[in-house]
Point group: C2
Chain length 485, copies 2
């Protein structure tokens, strides 16, 4: 781990734990440099990192301070997942969520759509348009089974940002991250096999596990640091687990970034028990801190990590442009991709290659990262204001999804039905669990720029939640509902 | 079956059987009308149908004649497939065929590429270009799981041409026909199940069967009429077959169109033994005769036919725009599609919807049909001229693929290696068989407009074939090598 990230994580943990309180002055740069035996510039980098995360504020000539407390709502509780592998259900609710195309009258707060109205997308659209006019063999014909070489060269370069040195030959493009995850699962597992997953977890992977006849073992997951390594180790002892599937960076739906030490420890466990890791990095480039967090793949030495990603969250899902770096499973992945779609659409691959090569991707990412970080603060404010007191809220470090937890007994599927006449849709928590847990939770999207209409919609959702709680006479347990500093 | 098609098939069979010889005058319109109790216009339609197929020539004021024999090479023999289900092999050779992107120095006669240089594609490219410039929600976001409603409306209309009345709600778009076939197989079969296939058969389906752990039962297939119904019935008696997968229209690689009576009989068998039919129609719209042949799906009454197709052969494979009409398996197909890719790229779907709606698709099809029909005649001429005497050649009724059969013992994989220094690639026959049969056969593509360079390449392939035959002292059995009238 880089020194400054190490130090920043240490300080961040102390702040989160309340060792330093809002308004407190943080140790001086010189003091930290002496205490940890690192250079002054390393400490300065660490503080800038904390600043990006909103955990430290510089005051001219006085040093760094813990920001004055905005009343932060309590975090969701660490999930207590079922301690045995289960078959996956919940397809009906997933279908309900995704069967309606976007763009109608309904405000789809439940979907994983990025903001596609950004002007930074224009160069990509111009490239697509220009390439469409050419009647070139490359755009219209079958490409290589591996995918377009130009795009794969750019992907190899981009992956350096997450610490990965991956050759072009080790990358295969796919029809979205969806196909990448789907072939990854089959490359590693047979029907009947057990896959350990973070919990709550992405419903696309769960449904793939369901369809291929595999079982999911949901592991307790901390809303700030991710999957519990203790629970994982116990599970590896107890069950013949074939793979660990998780989203360590800007997790969907919880938004955390797994600390680097945990990533390394998880990989060590995987090595010890000889299981594969399927890493979903689709939100990784939308981390609010810079540089972006490292992937588990970046520590992989024996090719057991299958790294899956796409441009669906960073640019636009309609492109269906994803990729996989499958390590030692390359040959299986090629065959599985050929079976599943043969190859991905050519035009988006060619246009993306040019868009990235001509330097348009990085500025776009910077813009979206800071937009989503601002939107997060705004959305958390709104939820604090309009939702019943005691609503627990995630604190995302990237991406554009917020996870809300209401008292046990609350039914977010019922909430969706109540919201229907208001033309608002949320994602019910139960689709993020193999066994249908998290009915008392919901996920909402904050990608779009805040607007009075959006604020009113959140207010509306809050009122409906309050009405349902009152009807069921549900309240937060006061201990559970405590507000963190 | 329409009366005139019935009559045309009857006459066609008599001509093929040699009952009427080249140069013979065919029965008059009046005589046939009396003989079969049909109207004069029905007979005239039947003759126009035969004319389209090159089986009858009109002479002004004298009626219809059997065309003067061009020396037609003998047809490939009816395949004698293994009479038991087998695991599928041959992935290495498929990979060799498809791993190289088109457009390089190598003349890829082995690939299933249509001619994408046609000016009739221009309106599609203009539409794609115009739509790319818009920053519209529809182009960039997730679409419906079913696919774009506008495109599905056009597909519903197009399917009328093959006799299908399919509602929009029964159509799901896919990433190419590849994904359609892949989800169809899994919607119907479990690992270990047996699927009956025509033989030779499309390698994409074989590899999917392999990947999902299913077994292929290859059935004897006639180069003019398709899968043997007798053999199929015996197999259905003997084995617990779950599905029949075939390409009845403009078969790949043999090019035949299965007679309507056979299609009905096959469906009746499927009903009697309660098995599903997976119908690949990807070349169906490229039948040289007009109107295009009916699909098996068009006779389907209880939703047991899963109809799969795409625009990869009619327009361009790089679009990856396919679809499936899965009958009673709709719910399974939706789940499987969600598992496999989530959804297909939006832009090609939207552009295609507009391209078809504005009337550009039909003229394009007409143009390609007649181009491919002319190319077929030219390619068969070249093969007759440049290949060793006795080479058996298919007589495609649509599409752009020719199947060549050489004496037993000939090795088309070796031919490919010999052709390498000449920068020519053919498709070895063995990849069209689950068990690696047809090593003595090869498939070549005649989509491109004939040119002196292409003629020279065919001449080159013929010379290499002759050299290999001489080296191995292989000759055609004189009885087998007989030339048909």
């Amino acid at each position: 781990m880089t020194l400054y990230v190490n130090l920043a994580e240490l300080l961040g943990a102390r702040i989160e734990q309340g060792l330093y309180r809002p308004g407190d002055r943080l140790p001086s740069v010189r003091a930290l440099s002496l205490e940890h035996g690192v250079s002054l510039s390393t400490v300065q980098q660490a503080y800038r990192h904390l600043e990006d995360q909103g955990l430290a504020t510089p005051k001219p000539k006085s040093g760094y301070f813990v920001p004055q407390a905005r009343q932060q709502p309590a975090l969701p509780m660490v999930s207590r997942a079922a301690q045995r592998p289960v078959d996956i259900s919940q397809w009906d609710q997933v279908l309900e969520l995704i069967s309606r195309p976007p763009g109608g009258d309904v405000l789809q707060l439940g979907r994983g759509m990025p903001d596609i109205s950004s002007p930074a997308l224009k160069p990509l659209l111009r490239t697509l348009s220009r390439m469409s006019r050419r009647q070139a063999v490359k755009e219209l014909s079958y490409g290589s089974l591996y995918g377009d070489p130009g795009l794969r060269a750019q992907l190899s370069r981009l992956m350096l940002d997450s610490g990965c040195q991956i050759a072009i030959e080790e990358i295969v493009t796919t029809t979205g991250c969806h196909e990448a995850l789907s072939v990854a699962i089959r490359a590693v597992c047979e029907p009947g096999d057990i896959v350990a997953v973070d919990s709550p977890s992405f419903h696309g992977v769960m449904q793939a596990l369901k369809g291929y006849g595999m079982k999911a073992l949901e592991l307790p997951t901390d809303p700030l640091t991710g999957i519990s390594l203790e629970a994982l180790e116990l599970a590896l002892e107890q069950w013949p687990i074939k793979a660990i599937q998780l989203t360590p960076n800007c997790n969907n739906p919880l938004g955390y970034i797994m600390p680097e030490a945990n990533k390394r420890a998880l990989l060590a466990l995987a090595q010890r028990y000889d299981v594969a890791i399927i890493e979903d990095d689709v939100y990784g480039e939308l981390a609010y801190s810079y540089p972006r967090p490292r992937s588990i793949k970046s520590f992989d030495e024996d090719g057991r990590v299958l790294f899956c990603s796409s441009f669906s969250k960073t640019l636009a899902p309609g492109l269906r442009a994803g990729w996989i770096a499958p390590g030692r499973y390359l040959q299986q992945v090629l065959h599985l991709k050929y079976m599943s779609t043969g190859m991905a659409a050519q035009l988006p691959q060619l246009a993306l290659a040019e868009f990235i090569a001509s330097g348009h991707y990085e500025p776009h990412l910077r813009r979206m990262r800071s937009q989503y970080a601002r939107n997060r603060d705004c959305m958390i404010d709104w939820v604090s204001r309009y939702f019943p007191a005691g609503t627990r809220v995630s604190r995302p470090q990237g991406g554009f999804m917020l996870w809300l937890e209401l008292p046990q007994g609350f039914d977010s599927q019922r909430l969706n039905r109540v919201l229907q006449p208001h033309n608002i849709q949320i994602a019910p928590g139960s689709i993020f669990s193999a066994a249908g847990k998290y009915r008392n939770c919901l996920r909402i999207n904050y990608a779009s720029q805040p607007s009075p209409a959006l604020e009113q919609a959140i207010c509306q959702v809050g009122e409906c939640v309050a009405a349902l709680l009152a009807e069921q006479q549900l309240v937060h347990n006061s201990a559970e509902g405590a507000v963190t500093p």
